[in-house]
């Protein structure tokens, strides 16, 4: 087990270095570069731009820029935003809570409801419920999220007036109830597609588990259907889902571009979009590294959880 962990950890670190090199390379080799926006500014002369380049260290060879950037990253200095000079980590931190709230709640909804639909669909295969769930999942997967968002706003905000159309809270109102009120619509809209994905995966995993020989053994032992389902089927069906949940973790923290834009939700997705628009390279690179770390962390956590749950891996 210890060897397994060390192994995975070292693999993750190597991957992280590779991702950082590729990310840094692509971003800096793109035509334009960090100072492109100043080229349009009639007040800036070529000399000003050269001076700015020297100040920001952009005139050095790219690999030195990378090493410098990476070394500061390791020490916790992720650079400063071009926009307002705030430290990148602080910028990320200020958007993290909003995203965590939205993605956490929608993921919780998606996993619990999706798993329930999947298990029920598998145990009642080809029933009316199963067909409806299948059709529903197809619809949720094929209709773009922003459309659900717009319809939701139209019906529940404009026509019925039950829910706010956007933002995370009213100005000056920091009550929990206020947050929750704003959270309902975007988190449900966001969870729709994930419910669909989860229910499909869960249905397949459950069907796989049901067809296993040990389920037949359990029946032959005279166990109740309920116990067979809970103890023998679901346990084994959840194993592959842990990996899926691990892959879900990064998106929980990096946010949803479309939904956050539709609902003007001040989360990480919108931060990324805005930073790209402003050519705010330090923030963009910071977000890239942040999500890379999360992807690797999510997979690592999933592997560890699988190892804890599955004795074949834990004790091997």
């Amino acid at each position: 087990m210890r060897g397994f962990l060390l192994n995975r950890l070292s693999q993750s670190l190597v991957l992280l270095v590779i991702v950082s090199i590729i990310g840094f390379g692509i971003l800096n080799l793109l035509p334009g570069g960090p100072l492109a926006q100043f080229g349009l500014d009639p007040g800036m002369t070529q000399q000003d731009i050269e001076r700015l380049k020297g100040l920001l260290g952009l005139d050095r060879p790219i690999w030195i820029q990378y090493l410098d950037w990476a070394w500061r990253l390791v020490r916790g200095d992720w650079g400063h935003s071009f926009r307002d000079g705030a430290p990148v980590l602080e910028v990320i931190g200020s958007h993290l809570f909003a995203t965590l709230l939205l993605m956490g709640s929608s993921t919780a909804i998606a996993i619990s409801i999706g798993a329930w639909i999947g298990i029920r669909g598998a145990t009642r295969r080809y029933s009316l419920f199963d067909y409806l769930a299948t059709v529903g999942a197809m619809v949720a997967l094929s209709v773009p999220t922003f459309w659900f968002g717009l319809v939701g706003i139209y019906v529940f905000s404009l026509k019925l007036g039950w829910l706010p159309a956007g933002n995370m809270s009213e100005i000056g109102d920091a009550s929990i109830l206020g947050y929750l009120h704003h959270l309902i619509l975007p988190s449900i809209v966001l969870s729709l597609v994930h419910v669909a994905i989860w229910s499909r995966y869960m249905r397949t995993a459950t069907l796989d588990a049901i067809s296993q020989d040990f389920v037949k053994t359990a029946r032959a032992k005279g166990l109740s259907e309920r116990r067979i389902l809970m103890k023998h089927v679901v346990g084994n069906a959840l194993l592959p889902m842990i990996t899926l949940a691990g892959m879900q973790l990064p998106s929980v923290l990096t946010g949803a571009l479309v939904t956050e834009t539709v609902f003007t939700w001040p989360g990480m997705g919108r931060l990324f979009l805005d930073s790209l628009g402003y050519s705010d390279y330090p923030v963009v690179m910071g977000l890239l590294m942040f999500s890379a770390i999360l992807v690797l962390l999510g997979n690592l956590i999933a592997d560890i959880v699988v190892a804890i749950v599955d004795p074949r891996i834990r004790l091997a």
């Binding site: 070292s10 040990f214 053994t217 166990l223 749950v309 004790l315």
Partner: protein
């Protein structure tokens, strides 16, 4: 239990089946899985139900357990268990009987246990489901059971997960679980088919011992007449959903009446101590000479943690003369399949030499070996998995030779001729593998290998997945092909009876080494190594001095 149900069977019958008919869903090969079958399982006896795949024997067992899939319906008949008719019983009542009055063990012990639960928890569960007692009582009983089925260190075994146990040990756990509530009837569905021959002998012994000790009634499903000869008191023979013959074991084995039974018994491969006649013009130069061949597998990580090194093939040496067949026999994990893969260079060896027609192919690079590939061909075990389901038989057969430079028209004509030669009609050329039965597919596999006019055929368990009657036909085909083409063969099998049918010489492998090598007369009648003696003694139905009822060596 329920007074209104009349017991029709006399008191000494534990289970009686009358006119049982089970329908199959529409669009299947037959309309009935079983039709009008009747038999009795007498108290304290072992009843063997024997038949080939698709005969309906497993459906019968599942019907008795009330475990038929929903799409398969019982249409008529009576199943009397302890005087109760279980057909039409409510699911709850049936569930109450399962595990308590009738239990079942299955074919594949590797998949029949839940991998996420300890052995102990799985045994406790069956007792808990029937309200046996407190967890402490269940636990004590479970350990008692683990002791009873002969597992080492039962206290420790109780806390083990199934993956730590060997196949034989897992089957013992299954038996312990089935015995937990001392059921009247034990149904065993091919419980030894997936096990090695020595393990099979131990499990058969265990089932017989427990059955005698407890006076239990056992319904034992098998396809192997050797197993029947070992343990059966009475026998039911099934063919295509019908009972064609039943009677005492002695009666059915020694004087089978129905032609199907006669055919089945005749097809069972028996140990022959006779060597095959040597071809007259045998040249002295061996076609294949293997010297000190070594293959090791490395598992785990070299950097972190412990690395496991398994020597699968250890200093193996042998020679094979042209036109002869060498049998490689051994149990699972003995390295026989690795050896086969090394010979055809699907695996790279770690040491030693393979001299094929005097040229050492072990050290050749893939590119240099490629022109030699057509000369060495392989026949695989699983006739279902070894043919690409999306390719026509014609494509499967011609793609190799065409890649090696044969014009397509010629390849097509040769493929058609070969298909006819292995006993398929020429129309098979344009059809897909799923349109053929297992035996037919194995014929295609053989024809495919022959397309290259090989000098050496490696057959890895080539008949193991087939029913005995088909098995006999395929063995005959291989023998005929060898006589016609003079091809040499390495025949890898776990079944000593099969090896004795077709091999000129047999190498017995254990833990990567050849422990004994010699002609069948030596291996089977006068084995030298202790392990060989153990293997031969474990063959079901072949006890020394046991006069064969039917002299059937087709």
């Amino acid at each position: 239990m329920v007074a209104s149900i009349q017991a029709v069977a006399p008191h000494d019958v534990a289970l009686s089946v009358r006119d049982l008919t089970v329908n199959l869903p529409q669009g299947m090969e037959r309309t009935h899985a079983v039709k009008d079958i009747s038999f009795d399982l007498k108290r304290g006896q072992i009843l063997c139900i024997i038949g080939e795949s698709g005969s309906g024997k497993s459906v019968t067992a599942n019907a008795i357990m009330g475990l038929l899939p929903k799409v398969i319906r019982l249409s008529s008949g009576v199943i009397q268990l302890e005087g109760m008719n279980i057909i039409g019983m409510s699911p709850d009542k049936l569930r109450n009987l399962r595990g308590r009055v009738v239990s079942m063990i299955f074919q594949d012990p590797l998949s029949a246990l839940n991998p996420l639960m300890t052995v102990g928890a799985q045994i406790d569960e069956v007792m808990a489901a029937h309200g046996f007692g407190t967890p402490q009582i269940c636990r004590n009983r479970a350990i008692e059971l683990l002791t009873e089925v002969g597992l080492p260190d039962p206290e420790l075994m109780y806390h083990q997960y199934p993956f730590r146990l060997s196949g034989g040990q897992r089957q013992r756990v299954m038996i312990a679980m089935a015995l937990a509530l001392e059921p009247t009837v034990l149904i065993a569905d091919e419980p030894t088919t997936a096990l090695d021959v020595t393990t099979q002998a131990q499990i058969l012994q265990l089932i017989r011992d427990i059955q005698r000790r407890k006076g239990m009634s056992v319904m034992f499903i098998t396809h192997d007449f050797g197993v029947v000869a070992e343990i059966a008191d009475s026998v039911v023979v099934m063919e295509k959903g019908n009972v064609v013959e039943q009677g005492s074991a002695e009666q059915v084995l020694k004087s089978p009446k129905h032609p199907y039974t006669q055919r089945l018994i005749a097809a069972v491969p028996h140990l022959t101590g006779e060597d095959r006649p040597r071809p007259e013009a045998a040249s002295k130069e061996p076609i294949l000479k293997v010297e000190g061949l070594v293959k090791t597998y490395r598992g785990g990580s070299a950097l972190f943690g412990a690395q496991r090194v398994v020597t699968a093939v250890n200093e193996v040496s042998f020679e094979l003369a042209p036109g002869r067949t060498l049998g490689v026999v051994g149990e699972s994990g003995s390295g026989k399949s690795s050896l086969g893969r090394l010979l055809i260079k699907l695996l790279d060896s770690d040491g030693g030499g393979i001299l094929f027609e005097g040229c050492d192919i072990a050290k050749l690079s893939e590119a240099k070996f490629r022109p030699l590939r057509p000369r060495i061909q392989m026949i695989f075990q699983d006739p279902f998995a070894s043919l690409n389901p999306r390719s026509t038989v014609g494509h499967i057969m011609t793609v190799g030779p065409v890649a090696h430079g044969m014009p397509y028209a010629q390849a097509r004509d040769e493929a058609r001729a070969l298909l006819a030669h292995v006993g398929l009609d020429a129309g098979a050329f344009g059809r897909y593998p799923h349109e053929f039965s297992g035996g037919q597919r194995q014929r295609i596999g053989i024809a495919r290998a022959l397309m290259f006019k090989p000098k050496l055929l490696i057959a890895d368990e080539a008949v193991s997945a087939l029913d005995v009657s088909i098995q006999a036909q395929i063995l005959q085909l291989l023998d005929q092909i060898q006589r016609e083409t003079g091809v040499s063969m390495v025949f890898i099998t776990h079944d000593l009876r099969v090896a004795s049918q077709i091999c000129d010489e047999i190498a017995v492998m254990q833990k990567g080494r050849i422990v004994e090598r010699g002609p069948p007369s030596q291996i089977f009648l006068n084995p030298q190594a202790a392990y060989t003696r153990q293997l031969v003694a474990a063959i079901p139905g072949e006890r020394p001095g046991n006069a064969r009822p039917v002299a059937a060596n087709a």
